[in-house]
């Protein structure tokens, strides 16, 4: 692996893993919003 390839891989994987984890963790932590129409 060349340095450029490692840099590209590192940056891209970091971005993708960061956003995937950030959003999925938030999905798991946030409860489903109750719907007003149901009440």
């Amino acid at each position: 692996m060349t340095t450029n390839a490692w840099i590209m891989l590192g940056i891209t994987w970091s971005v993708v893993i960061f956003f995937t984890a950030k959003f999925f963790l938030k999905v798991m932590k946030t409860p489903i919003r109750p719907d007003d129409d149901e009440s």
Binding site: M1, A5, M8, F23, K26, R33
Partner: protein, 550 residues
């Protein structure tokens, strides 16, 4: 009364859990292309440099389109609709809107037909990996025999392939008949984690192959380098940008009507912004992180980089995945059957979570608009898949599968996405559209996306559409300079116009008394057109009936 009253929430199905919904949506997007097409596309289009236009396309076109489709789905769901004709119909007063939704039925039906066949190959390969077929039979020779491509006639029925196709179709029907929570959501909750585990196991084993392992001739990192080495010149090539935008478009399963359908089971104030972003990024994780780390590194370790470059030259990793990898796993000794089963098992789970998403909108259509029971709807869907899928099984050597893939799995998606982007922003209106995307949002959607959805995303899809229509043979720059020199435009046989005009083919239906591929191509195109018109008629009849009831 044209518009139905908003449905009471208790009268319809809804998702059992938020995680289940996101996994089902991600499972819909994650398909065989994540593991077979993406790494080959990246390697052939600038390597690491491909990822720049790829991620730009994701942010400017992929994410916005996901939000648009989630919003259309949740909005229409409040009116009791769960399939594209009804979901689009309630976006405006124009009567033709529901007919645009025909695309959302047509694509799901026809893609499900050939995709179920593709999915059945992975199931058959799991079986053959476990039983050790590939230890005695070369997988390169196995595949053509399996699909009947060795037959002298282009009309042939490969019985084993038909058997696995029937099993796979039945499995899909059974899961779909169990309903949203017990069927689709349960399958996604099992399938997605298993898929991630299988992919991670293969990636770790593949990337740690060393010179002491039997059969290894090169470091697998050379394969990883092939995918990730940034060839900056590629950024200046319009073809690279088009390929990246195309990959983003097709990997996210947008333009199908399946995302709309899943989102239509949400309640009025439940989030679409965070759910959509999460499902989209999860697909990117599977594609960019796992997809790039399995097939090319493993193949490079055993075949060398030159062979892998040749095998992926067309931008597809299909031949590596189905014809090369099964044999390479033989180097893993006692682990060979397990490795094969894991590889094809992961492709199977990637496939089935997608094909289920294709079935649900069709079943929802007949349930909503024709008041059919779920059991009957699932059987009807199964029968239609068998009927259309059989054409792909029977006429695979004649090119029927490729015809389905191009017209329904490629062209129709772009057309539908282009139309829905304009309908959402121009007919429904950006004001209401933005309110729909952000209502109940559990994340702050940056306001810049309002501008992006209004102008940039439609422009992106238009570029993909025009690119697909007129894609030239050779490079874009060469074609443009040739045009200015008066040489005309060299349509690629892979372009839409090239396909219509049968560019590069001898256009005869019979040769030496035998039917040709051109006959199969024209026959399949006629069939697909009839299916489209048939869905149009079903939509018209359903709305006429509703009008008569009011």
């Amino acid at each position: 009364m044209r518009r139905e009253a908003r449905h009471t929430m208790t009268s319809r199905e809804s998702w059992g859990s938020r995680v289940g919904l996101v996994l089902a949506m991600a499972g819909n997007a994650v398909g065989l292309g994540n593991f077979l097409r993406f790494p080959a596309q990246a390697a052939q289009n600038g390597g690491g440099a491909f990822l720049i236009p790829y991620l730009v396309s994701f942010v400017l076109m992929g994410l916005p389109l996901l939000w648009v489709e989630w919003a259309i789905g949740r909005h229409g769901g409040q009116y009791g609709h769960h399939s594209a004709p009804g979901l689009l119909d309630v976006l405006g007063k124009q009567k033709w809107l529901k007919y645009v939704g025909v695309f959302g039925l047509f694509t799901n039906m026809t893609i499900a037909a050939y995709y179920t066949y593709l999915e059945s190959w992975t199931l058959a390969y799991v079986f053959h990996s476990i039983t050790g077929t590939f230890t005695t039979t070369d997988a390169t020779a196995f595949f053509p025999a399996y699909v009947g491509a060795n037959s002298a006639s282009i009309f042939t029925v490969p019985y084993e392939a038909l058997f696995w196709f029937l099993i796979t179709a039945a499995l899909n029907v059974w899961i779909l008949s169990r309903g949203l929570v017990k069927g689709i959501e349960m399958m996604a909750k099992i399938g997605m984690p298993v898929l991630l585990l299988f992919a991670a196991a293969l990636a770790i084993r593949g990337l740690t192959l060393g010179p002491d392992d039997p059969g290894v001739i090169q470091s697998p990192l050379a394969g990883l380098n092939f995918v990730w080495e940034p060839k900056v010149g590629g950024l200046l090539n319009p073809g690279t940008w088009l390929a990246a935008a195309g990959q983003i478009f097709f990997t996210l399963s947008v333009g199908m009507g399946s995302i709309h359908c899943y989102a239509s089971y949400l309640k009025a104030k439940q989030d679409v912004a965070l759910n959509g972003a999460s499902a989209g990024w999860m697909n990117e994780f599977v594609e960019v992180v796992l997809g790039s780390s399995v097939i090319i590194p493993i193949a490079t370790a055993y075949l060398g980089i030159a062979a892998v470059q040749a095998a992926t030259a067309g931008g597809s990793g299909f031949s590596l995945g189905f014809m090369t990898l099964p044999t390479l796993f033989n180097n893993w000794g006692v682990l060979a059957p397990v490795a094969g089963a894991i590889w094809f098992g992961l492709l199977f789970f990637a496939g089935i979570t997608s094909s289920m998403a294709m079935g649900q909108p069709l079943m929802a259509f007949v349930e909503d608009e024709y008041k059919m029971s779920r059991a009957k709807a699932s059987l009807l869907f199964g029968a239609a898949v068998l009927l259309l899928g059989f054409v792909c099984v029977w006429l695979y050597p004649g090119g029927a599968f490729d015809e389905f893939d191009f017209w329904t799995g490629t062209f129709a998606l772009v057309v539908f996405a282009l139309l829905e982007a304009f309908i959402f922003t121009r007919i429904f209106g950006m004001e209401k559209g933005w309110e729909e995307i952000t209502r109940g949002a559990d994340m702050k959607v940056p306001r810049i996306f309002r501008f992006i959805i209004m102008y940039i995303t439609p422009a992106f899809i238009t570029v993909i559409f025009v690119g697909a229509m007129i894609q030239p043979e050779g490079t874009w720059s060469g074609a443009i300079s040739g045009l200015f020199q008066g040489d005309g435009w060299p349509f690629s046989p892979a372009s839409v116009i090239g396909k219509v005009l049968h560019v590069g083919e001898e256009y005869v239906w019979f040769k030496d008394g035998q039917p040709t591929k051109a006959l199969v191509q024209d026959g399949v195109r006629t069939l697909l057109l009839l299916v489209f018109l048939g869905f149009g008629l079903l939509v018209r009849t359903a709305w006429k009936r509703k009008e008569a009831q009011v």
